[in-house]
């Protein structure tokens, strides 16, 4: 196990060195990424400037949800590159090479690339979250819940990317449909779930439990709800989701029959 960690860190170190080889390109990409994500929040700000309130929620409250979701998404996006590009890896026959090596293919995919440019979204999420935090009376319990919420949401997003990769065992190409759940899920979860329709909330509570990992904890942190089991245990749903996703991926490997190049 510790051996696997050592190997993972080697993968990460190589990936970072490779990306820093072209410093100017890296800087430009990161800044570009920061700009693209910053305009998202600017859009939310502009809507609040126009309308004042969103169903009783203030901009600062929404900022807490936005920041949590964005940090979680950036973390999953940065580390899940191997699964995100799995369709290409599978089609080129590169996955067969991974299977030949005496290491878990999941570990190799995890170490595929650590996308440093996601620092752009991450730092933007941190700034928004800090701005939102100023107005909150933190306790050790709510602070711990925030960390757990970010971790759980990140696991959930990671699980979605793993499922997207798993689908490639059947369809070879990873389909753009998954963007609705990854990017679309991220987009939807930046706002309080309360503003959505019932069926939509239901989907993001039961099937892709983003409401459990980020929305309910945020309600407790903001003092809208007294701390209850659904708030404290909610983020665990993200961890469970990730575990199930890896299970599905293993089933996919068993079914895998190469593209035969």
């Amino acid at each position: 196990m510790s051996d696997a960690f050592a190997l993972y860190w080697r993968y990460v170190a190589i990936s970072i060195r490779a990306q820093l080889a072209y410093r100017a390109t890296f800087a430009m990409k990161t800044i570009g990424h920061l700009l693209v994500t910053a305009i998202e929040f600017f859009g939310i700000w502009a809507l609040f400037a126009r309308f004042g309130t969103l169903g009783g929620w203030t901009l600062r409250e929404v900022a807490l949800i936005y920041g949590t979701t964005d940090i979680a998404f950036a973390l999953a996006d940065a580390t899940g590159r191997g699964f995100d590009k799995f369709g290409t890896i599978l089609k080129a026959g590169d996955f067969d090479r991974m299977l030949l090596r005496p290491r878990s293919p999941i570990l190799q995919l995890l170490g595929f690339e650590l996308q440093l440019m996601r620092i752009g979204r991450l730092s933007q999420g941190v700034v928004v979250l800090v701005w939102a935090s100023v107005a909150i009376a933190w306790t050790p319990a709510t602070l711990a819940l925030l960390v757990f919420s970010i971790a759980g949401t990140s696991c959930l997003f990671f699980g979605l990317v793993v499922l997207q990769a798993t689908s490639a065992f059947w369809t070879i190409e990873t389909l753009e449909v998954w963007n609705a759940f990854t990017y679309g899920g991220n987009y939807a979860a930046q706002y309080p779930m309360a503003i959505y329709r019932r069926w939509f909330r239901g989907f993001f509570t039961v099937i892709v439990p983003l409401a459990l990992t980020s929305y309910y904890p945020a309600r407790a942190i903001l003092g809208r709800d007294p701390l209850g089991p659904i708030h404290v245990l909610g983020p665990a749903a993200g961890v469970a989701f990730l575990a199930l996703s890896f299970g599905a991926f293993r089933l996919g490997i068993r079914r895998h029959a190469s593209t035969g190049t």
Partner: protein, 266 residues
């Protein structure tokens, strides 16, 4: 002229091959459209003084989703590769104007995927989505005709921006920078993040002076009747004016770029 038309036709056929990708993209676009409308409805619930009506803003979102691919996300990858590898000299031997060639490619690249997505998106937004959530037909035949013209102008405007990105590569070679900047501006100032009429009042004159409003925002508002038929000719003048300006700039830069082009090898 036939030379340019042949390029448009050939690129069009090549791009229409990706039907499965278009279907997946359609689902994603419908999903995003619904989320955006739910968010806007929640904001509108608190207000009666918005500068654009809820029905019009709903139509605006659907039209934006339908013609989303008009936004110049990035430069033409094939042209970028030609400039990088130097094979762009083969293009110079053709009896066609280099900028015109790139512009013709861009027109096809912008239209084919948009048409593939627009037709089913209109069907979904007008017929499938429940009443009050969908896209209402234009208020008059005149509005529809003017929208069609304005949409055509939006394609030309978008293609002019795309070919300008290609031209810029003659200087920057591996430039991700400029295309990324243009894409960011086009998303924000084109009405894709939030509808332009909902921006603060002080920003409006600037937003509508920029070329980006001419791609999604202005045509959509002609369609829904948010911009009246009487005012629509101004929209078309705005689009054509910017297209012409960008085209002249692009051609001028191309001729300068070709003059300083150094080709290696024999």
């Amino acid at each position: 002229m036939t030379g340019y038309l042949a390029i448009v036709a050939a690129r069009f056929r090549a791009l229409l091959q990706y039907r499965a990708a278009a279907l997946g993209g359609l689902f994603t676009q419908v999903f995003f459209g619904l989320v955006r409308i739910m968010i806007l409805r929640a904001f509108y619930a608190a207000s009666t003084t918005a500068p654009i009506s809820l029905a019009n803003v709903t139509g605006y979102v659907w039209l934006g989703q339908a013609t989303l691919l008009l936004i110049p996300w990035r430069e033409d990858a094939d042209v970028a590769e030609q400039i990088r590898s130097g094979t762009v000299v083969y293009e110079l031997t053709r009896p066609l104007d280099l900028w015109g060639l790139w512009f013709a490619r861009a027109v096809a690249w912008r239209t084919a995927p948009v048409f593939l997505r627009m037709v089913p998106m209109f069907v979904i937004a007008m017929l499938v989505v429940p009443a009050g959530w969908g896209l209402a037909p234009p208020p008059s035949v005149a509005a529809f005709v003017l929208w069609s013209i304005s949409f055509g102008c939006a394609v030309l405007l978008s293609a002019a921006l795309t070919s300008l990105m290609s031209v810029a590569l003659m200087w920057t070679i591996t430039g991700d920078g400029l295309p990324m900047l243009v894409a960011t501006c086009a998303t924000m100032f084109g009405g894709l993040v939030i509808p332009l009429p909902l921006f603060p009042g002080w920003a409006q004159p600037v937003l509508y002076a920029l070329p980006f409003a001419g791609m999604l925002d202005l045509p959509s508002r002609v369609f829904t009747g948010d911009i009246s038929v009487a005012h629509a000719p101004w929209v078309i003048a705005h689009q054509l004016g910017w297209t012409l300006a960008l085209a002249l700039l692009g051609r001028w830069l191309t001729s300068r770029g070709v003059r300083r082009l150094v080709v290696q090898g024999g």
